[in-house]
């Protein structure tokens, strides 16, 4: 189990520091002479800022700087990965509860907090929108100033973008049964246990930023542009994030601390509270209308999807989330005709962003639930209707995109088997099964450098953020496999843009595939150099030498690559340097700008029962099966799959933001917002993987880690439906909501009392 080769499960690289407390996260790093930052916010969502008076705050001992919009360049610098809509500080008006209007830097945390309390902000609360209905109302106040999107016909509304996809002739399609309903997915937050933390320090050359960020190179570009420094003068240090899940992809308060550090001429640090992270990141909520046509045998003949996603006040990457989430909304099935309309709607709420699953869990909840409603009306069970419609390997199930890249039926059947689909059910129990699919990255660029050092040890430079998925472990395994060097002699370096070559981003479950292939490419570069080295040492024609997986094959013998290296480097020593790169180019004609590098496919099957007295859903068995192509490290695959499955239980059973009528987030923090604990686990959890070595990554790997979250909700809801007879189309399935549905059912069954 603890070998270091591909397919083994060696202990995590970086694991030792994680169990001893030595692992340094951003908040654990202190710089000499640093200042502490606290944000100044208002107790409402949208307000016109009349004036900001910092004099009292500046009188607090230790307060060095109060940053207001007046201290920033005019016009206010803005940033954002899709639209440059986010100001460094709120300018003119705040857009959501928690939108900072100023920031205080002081010698101590206490002084910064006291200073922030004493900044006097005169403001006038303004009407605001917090729901899809509110944002779309004809007289709705605009969230975004139309001047930010010149020439955009939608700029005069709260619709940021409308995405339209489709194929076939929906209107001409025939059906024996049409099922149409709407489904609601709540606002939920990432709740990484590490709150976001940022440090900026000026030096004689430029600026260094420490951030718990997933995309250090993207951040480097954003900061360089904002403060007008060359990339080479902006260094981003990105220690392993303490959980990210998409919430740490793009710049949040790094631009603010950068400007503050430059102004103060000293390092500044901002560590968010958990409450502030609730006001910094969340998932898009959604209302999705689905209309599906079925033939009497269960075959889907057409489907219309109208998905409205509610974004926050600034777009971040969340419009991309909408487009990429909705496009494969029909799931891993053959659907001959479909029309998909997905809208990104702005509101005066916490900015939404990427979150594990990237828009897919929302539409998956709706479409899988709708499929089950069709099945029930036709007298088919959940497994049968999925078998009838699932795409076979090679099917162009999603026109214009990558054909089905796995034996998906195998995944479906295995999950059904694991949950005991054909076994008799105890009274009051129900089963549900659902499929989830998500597109891998549509573009990508990863560089890797592998340095084969004089003593035969190896340094791998790979810019993936190791945020819990164990990327460095897998990269070390790939290098170990290719160079024949044990893991104990390999170090993987990441998280520093001054040292490690460019990597586009850590998202979309890409790293094992794209960075994995870049490392493979760098190892092949070394192989080529070692082949010539081996040939030279023996006076042979290089054509007579071959190199693979740790050894050089000469006509008369095999030589470990480490030996080839040592002999070849000779007395001077030194090292060999291998470089690798993987590019996945954009395809401008594709609806998403590029085809999927692979699909993440999961099947989740649930057995559940419901406490009719309290409405509590009890998960008896939770089976999750993911098609991963090849598990480079099976233990890491399992921990991520089971973790994703349990995370999925959060939005399914308990998590949701509650706003009051003024747009104040009322369940701010850990007391009033529940995430799954060790007491919320299914009574039994089984996870398995399908491995057909049919992925584009090293040794046939596909990306994984998001799949097991995608379809938890529809599988649980289908089990609840079978157990109780009630159909619930709004998440989460809290005890209150389930109990109310049961009450409704009880009332409707009682004969009417005529008085």
């Amino acid at each position: 189990m603890n070998g270091g080769r591909v397919g083994d499960s060696p202990r995590r690289v970086g694991g030792h520091g994680r169990v001893t407390g030595a692992q340094q996260y951003v908040a654990d790093i202190h710089l000499p002479d640093e200042l502490h930052v606290e944000l100044v916010t208002l107790d409402c969502a949208r307000a016109r800022i009349v004036s900001i008076d910092a004099s009292d705050a500046l009188a607090v001992p230790g307060v060095q700087l109060v940053m207001t919009p007046d201290d920033l360049p005019e016009p206010m610098p803005r940033f954002g990965p899709q639209f440059r809509d986010r100001p460094i500080l709120a300018v003119g008006e705040t857009k959501f509860h928690g939108d900072p209007v100023a920031a205080v830097a002081a010698e101590t945390k206490d002084a910064a907090e006291e200073g922030a309390r004493r900044v006097r902000v005169d403001y006038e609360e303004l009407p605001a929108v917090f729901t899809i209905g509110g944002a779309l109302a004809p007289d709705a106040p605009l969230v975004q100033d139309p001047s930010l999107r010149p020439g955009d016909p939608l700029a005069g509304s709260n619709v940021l973008r409308e995405h339209r996809y489709g194929w076939g002739d929906v209107d001409a399609a025939e059906a024996d049964l049409v099922v149409e309903n709407s489904y609601v997915f709540p606002m939920v937050t990432h709740f990484a246990i590490e709150p976001h933390a940022f440090i900026a320090a000026p030096d004689e050359e430029g600026l260094t930023i420490w951030s718990s960020i997933q995309h250090p190179y993207w951040l480097q570009r954003v900061i360089a542009e904002l403060v007008e420094l060359p990339l080479a003068r902006v260094r981003v240090v990105a220690p392993d994030p303490g959980g990210a899940f998409g919430g740490k992809q793009h710049a949040k308060y790094e631009p603010l601390v950068a400007f503050m550090a430059l102004r103060a001429g000293r390092p500044v640090r901002l560590v968010l509270s958990l409450e502030q992270t609730f006001q910094a990141v969340r998932r898009n909520s959604a209302e999705i209308r689905v209309r599906t046509g079925f033939r009497s045998d269960g075959a889907v003949t057409f489907r219309e999807i109208h998905a409205d996603y509610l974004l926050g006040a600034y777009a971040d990457i969340s419009d991309r989330v909408v487009g990429k989430g909705a496009y494969p909304g029909n799931g891993p099935y053959r659907v001959p005709a479909s029309r998909i309309v997905a809208r990104s709607i702005l509101s005066h709420t916490t900015p939404s962003t990427a979150f594990r699953g990237f828009g897919a869990p929302q539409v998956n909840w709706a479409v899988e639930s709708n499929l089950d409603e069709g099945a029930r009306a036709l007298g088919l069970d959940g497994l049968e209707i999925r078998r009838r419609n699932i795409a076979a390997r090679g099917d162009r199930f999603l026109p214009y995109d990558t054909p089905a890249d796995g034996d998906w039926q195998q995944t479906l059947d295995r999950a059904a088997e694991l949950v005991g689909w054909d076994r008799p059910l105890p009274d009051g129990h129900g089963r549900g099964i659902a499929l989830g699919i998500k597109l891998g990255p549509t573009t990508g660029l990863s560089h890797a450098t592998v340095r084969f050092l004089g003593d035969g040890s190896v340094l791998v430079l790979a810019g993936t953020s190791d945020m819990g998925q164990g990327a460095r472990t897998v990269f070390a395994q790939v290098a170990s496999e290719e160079l024949g060097v044990p893991l104990g002699r390999i170090t993987v370096v990441s998280g520093d843009t001054h040292i490690v070559p460019y990597d586009q981003q850590t998202s979309a479950s890409r790293s094992s595939v794209l960075m994995g292939n870049a490392i493979l490419d760098a190892c092949r570069d070394l192989h080529e150099q070692l082949r010539e080295m081996a040939a030279r040492a023996d006076g042979l024609d290089p054509a007579r030498v071959s190199v693979e997986r740790g050894v050089a094959r000469l006509p008369d013998r095999e030589v470990p690559l480490v030996e080839v290296l040592k002999v070849g480097l000779g007395k001077l020593g030194g090292e060999l340097i291998g470089n690798g790169v993987v590019r996945k180019e954009a395809e401008p004609d594709h609806p998403l700008g590029g085809t999927a590098a692979f699909y993440e496919l999961n099947c989740t099957a649930i057995e559940a029962t419901v406490d009719e007295g309290t409405g509590e859903v009890v998960l008896v068995r939770h089976a999750t099966v993911s098609d991963v192509g090849k598990a480079l490290n099976p233990m890491q695959v399992r921990m991520q799959d089971e973790g994703a499955a349990i995370m999925g239980l959060g939005h399914t059973l308990m998590e949701h933001y509650i706003y009051d009528e003024n747009g104040r987030l009322r369940n701010l923090g850990a007391i009033d917002y529940r995430i799954p604990t060790s007491k919320d686990l299914p009574l039994e959890m089984v996870s398995e993987i399908v491995e057909n070595e049919d992925g584009p990554g090293p040794y046939g790997a596909k990306g994984m880690s998001e799949g097991a979250l995608l379809c938890v909700a529809p599988a649980v809801a289908a089990a609840v439906q079978q157990a109780t007879g009630v159909t619930i189309r709004d998440l989460p399935l809290t005890p209150q909501r389930v109990w109310e549905a049961l009450e409704e059912r009880r009332r409707s069954r009682e004969p009417e009392v005529v008085s």
């Binding site: 169990v19 303490g242 399992r638 921990m639 686990l681």
Partner: protein, 158 residues
């Protein structure tokens, strides 16, 4: 009432004398004054367990305990688990069973589990779930954490 007081406590076996602000928590003082950053800060309301330490043998959310309340007490943190560089059974089991993902909650999980095993060397799965219910893991490595605690319990009994 004074703003600052001197407290004397034992941290991982070593006596410490620290002048603390009276409103600062044990968590603040451990991280910012004693310099032990293994204990993590997340919710600061005693719900997430990331800051769990052991005080006189009991697991405590160090964000809910004022530093002055630790005067005269014995505090153990994650940094005190390993003995002369040798991981203890729990730390080893967390690595072997794949219980660490991002790692941020792990110091708290380890201290809650350590306190459990010192009191109950042979816990059931339900007892482990109960004892660790106050330690949130958003990577949701609960299955692996439970397995690790069972493995460590067995190793400790040997």
């Amino acid at each position: 009432m004074p703003d600052r007081l001197t407290v004397e406590l034992t941290v991982n076996g070593a006596p410490r004398r620290v002048e603390v602000a009276v409103h600062h928590t044990l968590l603040d003082v451990l991280r910012d004054q004693v310099g032990l950053t293994g204990t993590k800060e997340c919710c600061v309301v005693g719900e997430c367990g990331a800051c769990t330490v052991i005080v006189d043998g009991l697991p405590v959310n160090s964000c809910l305990m004022l530093a002055v309340e630790a005067d005269g007490h014995e505090v153990r943190t994650v940094e005190g688990l390993a003995r002369v560089g040798q991981l203890n059974e729990l730390q080893q089991a967390f690595l072997d069973r794949g219980a660490t993902q991002c790692g941020f909650c792990i110091p708290g999980q380890l201290m809650a589990a350590q306190a459990l095993l010192e009191k109950n060397p042979d816990p059931t799965v339900a007892e482990i779930h109960e004892a660790l219910a106050g330690n949130l893991c958003r990577c949701a490595g609960y299955e692996q954490i439970t397995e690790a605690v069972l493995t460590a319990a067995e190793a400790m009994r040997r």
